[in-house]
């Protein structure tokens, strides 16, 4: 044993080191399979022209789940209050249109990103020093306090009745919104593509590698001198801004917004979507949000009670048997097929 070890030892690490290096060099490159979700999204536009409103809602939730993936999947921050930023984005656009007459949609998205990002920066700077249950409670309390604050000023926010019947300008002054939401779908898809590109760049940057390091071993990151708190606040701010954009799109596509966007249910729902799809995998958000929304759409029509039981069961099963979500299952299947072919 010892002899054979010394014989093969020098050769093996070199090979695996080369392998690891080439993996690191190549991992940010676009793969052919990555075109698939986008092709499906475009195909949906032509196949289901009468379900475009639902389609845009799915795209909005994908973006929301993607923002959570950035902090939960990559940086390992467990939050129960991510709906806070979705809600802030939704209300930035809603209040802007209802009270200030700011009805230009694209600049609305930027405004929502800035406001939500600012709130994310301020709360993150305070909260991210904490971990575990304390952090869970603090993020949860933040979202509920925002909701209560909105309820307190129901003269502004419209309370739980919301701000109905908002109208927005045609896109770039040209493309008007039609009854079936075709324009909205394209609009949401383009916004998602831009956001996705940014998130992908972040994830594969040195900054993204530092985040993964923090998730895997905080102490070691501290020990090698990584500015852990600053990095966490930064990614929290970015995720908040993206959730804000998702919220703004939500308001624009629905043309109304109510205080229920801040609900604990909303925070839990987006987490369930992400877990279902798979965390820390980028496309987990796509798969999870789409599967969840489509299942919900079909099953909750049959019976909302049945649907709720089903989603609970799915969560329990996912935790017990498929901790890496649907994407994890797909990866396993792909590995299995590849192995079969080799042998």
């Amino acid at each position: 044993m010892a002899v054979s070890n010394t014989m093969t030892a020098p050769a093996k690490p070199a090979a695996s080191r080369e392998e690891a290096a080439s993996f690191l060099i190549k991992r940010h490159r676009f793969r052919a399979a990555e075109a698939l979700p986008w092709l499906i999204a475009i195909a949906v536009y032509f196949i289901f022209p009468d379900r475009m409103t639902f389609g845009s809602q799915v795209l909005v939730m994908i973006m929301f789940a993607l923002s959570l993936d950035l902090i939960l999947g990559y940086a390992g921050i467990v939050t129960l209050g991510h709906a806070a930023f979705f809600g802030i984005g939704a209300y930035t656009v809603g209040l802007g249109a209802a009270k200030l007459g700011w009805t230009e949609p694209v600049s609305g998205l930027f405004a929502a990103a800035i406001v939500a990002g600012l709130v994310g920066f301020m709360t993150g700077w305070f909260l991210l020093r904490y971990r575990g249950l304390t952090l869970l409670m603090l993020t949860l309390a933040t979202a509920i306090m925002l909701q209560e604050a909105g309820n307190l000023r129901s003269d502004l926010s419209g309370g739980y009745d919301g701000l109905p019947g908002l109208t927005f300008d045609p896109l770039f002054g040209k493309f008007d919104y039609d009854l079936y939401g075709h324009t909205y779908y394209i609009y949401a898809l383009v916004a998602l593509a831009v956001v996705f590109y940014v998130v992908r760049r972040i994830v594969y940057s040195p900054f993204g590698a530092a985040l993964t390091g923090i998730r895997e071993n905080v102490r070691r990151m501290h020990a090698i001198g990584s500015p852990v708190h600053g990095r966490l606040v930064m990614v929290y701010t970015i995720a908040a801004a993206i959730a804000g954009i998702a919220g703004a799109l939500f308001t624009q596509t629905n043309a109304y917004v109510t205080l229920t966007v801040f609900d604990f249910d909303n925070s839990a729902k987006v987490m369930v979507m992400l877990i279902l799809g798979g965390t820390g995998r980028l496309y987990g958000a796509f798969l999870g949000a789409a599967v969840y929304m489509i299942l919900e759409d079909h099953l909750s029509k049959l019976s909302p009670t049945f649907w709720q039981f089903g989603i609970g069961l799915l969560l329990v099963l996912a935790v017990l048997f498929a901790r890496r979500g649907l994407m994890g299952l797909i990866e396993d299947a792909a590995k299995f097929v590849a192995k079969r072919r080799q042998s």
Binding site: G132, T134, M137, L138, E148, L152, T305, G312, V319
Partner: protein, 290 residues
Amino acid sequence: MPHVANIAVSILFDGLAYAMFLFITSVGLSVTMGLMNFVNLAHGAFAMAGGYIVVTLTRTLGIDFVPSLIIASVLVGIISIPFERGLYRRLYKATDLEQVLLTIGLAFMAIATFTYFYGPIPKSVPLPTWLQGDINLGFRAFPSYRAFLIVLGVILIVVLWYVFERTNIGAKIRAAVDNRRMAESVGINVDRLFTLTFAVGSGLAALGGGLAIQLFGLTPYFAVLYLVLFLIVVAVGGLGSLKGTLLAALVLGVFDTAGKYLFADAGGFFIYAVTVVVLLIKPAGFYGRE
């Protein structure tokens, strides 16, 4: 100014009754979280189950309210054991996130199951005559039910304090919360201890659920609606601390009642503001270990 004094007494009395409810329901959660560091978001579901068992026992079977409460807590305590043995046990070493997801999943399933059998309409419970109306304490009258809650809460506090501080079992629990490995190495069976405290904690939650029907009404959403409150009590009090849970329940109960009395519009704002302030200053809660 008799008027101001009157309001102050009302706030204190109602706040105290509310605090007792919070304490009874949360204390089990605090001890189990302190023992195993397990984030149990299904705790509210056990409380809700207790409430519905009380409804069935009193409405359908015609058993009195107080015996129903006892039967419900014992039943839920027993029912909780297979959950702990079969499901929770697998995840003691898992991350916070996985524990959160499993227990949220269980809570969703519980909500759906109880909605299926009992419907979404709020349930009430018939009270015996001695718990209805007011009780006169000489200087003013108080609602009997809240007085009952306070008396019951005080009795439970004394009993729990005795068990915790003066019995062998209590000493073992404190040792295990303090340092689990050390407790195991001196021969304490922490696993069995945990199953026991989990069952007792779930039973107490069921008692709290039964008591809550008269205060808030009972719907299946009780499981998540008040869960946030229980978790806040636990986090503010400090995991695994009886004293901390009591102090947190008192502070939050009185603050919340005062907030609702004095500023009706601000509603639940106060309880969260207090939580955030306490946790920012003392991240591990009043009596938690840093």
